[in-house]
Subunit: 185 residues, 2 copies
């Protein structure tokens, strides 16, 4: 199960379910979605299975938090998942499917679809760009090679997000231009 392994990965540092949810909304946003209730249930299940342990800690700004940390069994499970190689073949990308069928609606509406998509992607891209800029200014010369192992891998996924999103934006813009061209003919 990917979700459980992702939670194990995040729990390299102790965290509560609510923290994790926010991580899904920012860092993981462009490649994995998880519902809050799903996270809480997974955490409970994983504690029962001995992959995690928790303790209640007072919060600085709200009710008590249940802070989870990985057990050695949890770390082993995560390592096995990673050693198993890339998990491929479960990709979900709804809007690509939609584009496949976009000839079923009127050209004007299809263009509106693309405009909306473009806006969303540009927003995603600038979020990622901002994160990278922050890293870049914090780290000194030789960035990103001077990062420690953990940060380096985090940066790799960020770089991936940037490249993927840039490619997407270029494609959307090219598509919009082509659609306009077709309409004018």
């Amino acid at each position: 199960m990917s979700l459980e392994n992702i939670l194990l990965g995040i729990l390299k540092r102790p965290a509560a379910g609510y923290d994790i949810k926010r991580q899904f909304e920012t860092v993981f946003n462009h490649f994995w979605h998880a519902d809050l209730t799903q996270i809480y249930r997974a955490l409970n299940r994983m504690e029962k299975d001995g992959l995690l342990e928790s303790r209640l800690e007072p919060s600085e700004r709200g009710p008590a938090r249940k802070v989870y940390r990985r057990t050695p069994a949890g770390s082993r499970t995560l390592a096995e998942w990673l050693r198993g190689g890339p998990v491929l073949g479960n990709e979900k990308f709804a809007y690509l499917a939609q584009i496949h069928f976009l000839d079923e609606i009127e050209p004007a509406q299809a263009e509106e679809f693309f405009d909306t998509l473009r806006e969303e992607l540009v927003t995603q891209l600038s979020t990622l760009d901002a994160i990278e800029q922050e890293w870049r200014t914090e780290a000194g010369e030789g960035f990103p090679d001077t990062l420690d192992d953990e940060d380096f891998h985090t940066w790799l996924t960020l770089d991936m997000g940037l490249r993927k999103t840039r490619a997407l934006v270029e494609w959307v813009e090219a598509s919009i231009a082509r659609l306009r061209g077709r309409r004018e003919r």
Copy 2:
């Protein structure tokens, strides 16, 4: 529900569940996964809901097939889905999450991970490339603008797949080089 809408899209042309499964394995492979039993169950459900109708037809190479076609209600449902704009926020991309945590295993194994990923992506890319080449030679001058509306939108998703996968391959190769560099230092 995205799956049902995707099925409606595919059923622009009548098809049986088994045909649809093969479409998922080829055209839709890089952006949507669906299990055979899931497809059959969705088709049954959708017929009950009046989105599809079916009739048994003899097969050329096996038992009788249940060939489905869209009803007007089905077409309306699909159009609504598309007019609703891009469905974002449900993306699932397990291997990207894995990369995020790859510092948890030994560098040699992490590199192996990337090598495997690279191979898979290159295979995906050449599949897409082959499809595009075929289109390109079949269609004459002015490709892709001379395609009819349906083919044009299909080509757009293909182009998207190509750009996205190319960006991914470039990134994997850059990442491998960076990892090698770090190891040597």
